[in-house]
């Protein structure tokens, strides 16, 4: 049986992969979407976005809901990286594209209750290449049965 959290992050990855210029977005970020990537990126892999479902809070024992249901709050960070001579402009487009994509399916193919965004941070660094990154925090609300997904 599928684990709901895994299905959610898989669906989020699939959703972000729809970010293409042909689909009406500013960028082709969807070509490089990763889950928990730890190895460094190379120039031909950018722009890229890495999904980290780092933490989760669980409301159990019926504090706000049924005693047999867990209300789960999944904290996800999306790390965007891009390079080029106009990275500040590019990174703003990438952020806009990610928010737009999430807005097209805030239940991630009916696997969660809602997806909300809580903010983002931009960083820029320059060595041989000028690179920029953005960290986008989102929260995914979903429910499962208590202790078991079945």
């Amino acid at each position: 049986m599928a684990i709901t959290r895994q299905t959610i992050v898989n669906n989020l990855k699939t959703l972000l992969q729809t970010i293409t210029i042909a689909n009406g977005y500013y960028t082709a970020l969807g070509s490089n979407v990763y889950l928990f990537r730890t190895i460094p990126m190379q120039a031909d892999e950018l722009p890229a976005v890495v999904i980290f479902d780092k933490g989760e809070n669980i409301d159990t024992e019926g504090v706000t809901g049924s005693v047999n249901v867990w209300n789960r709050v999944l904290n996800v960070t999306l790390q965007i990286v891009c390079a080029g001579s106009t990275v500040d402009t590019t990174v703003r487009k990438l952020i806009t594209d990610v928010y737009k994509a999430i807005g097209t399916d805030t239940t991630l193919t009916s696997t969660c209750i809602d997806v909300i965004t809580t903010g983002n941070q931009i960083e820029i660094e320059q060595e041989s290449k000028l690179i920029a990154g953005a960290s986008l925090d989102i929260i995914i609300f979903y429910r499962t049965n208590k202790y078991t997904e079945s």
Partner: protein
């Protein structure tokens, strides 16, 4: 002071020729010791395989160097993004391929 530096930075050893152009200035051929070692950039927690190009120059060759000056070596144009004189006659230029 200048003579030992010229002996240190010369094309018979580790030096190589470069065309240096100060901001608003004219191109000049100088000799540099070029380095372009690997550098792992970290941006919002993600790693990126970058390099950190530098040019060690005689300070007298680049005495007016400011950010935005250019250096062409091995047919690659680099922009100066940092000027680091060491006070002994050498200046290290921190370079980037993007301005």
């Amino acid at each position: 002071m200048d003579q030992p530096i010229s002996e240190f930075i010369n094309t018979d050893d580790f030096g190589q020729s470069a065309t240096y152009t100060a901001s608003g200035g004219s191109p000049a051929t100088i000799t540099i010791i070029f380095d372009n070692e690997f550098f792992l950039s970290t941006i919002v927690g993600s790693g990126y395989e970058n390099t950190n190009p530098t040019a060690l120059c005689k300070t007298t060759d680049v005495s007016t160097a400011t950010n935005g000056a250019t250096l062409v070596t091995d047919s690659v144009t680099y922009y100066v993004i940092g000027v680091q004189p060491d006070g002994t006659g050498f200046t290290k230029l921190i370079l980037s391929t993007q301005n």
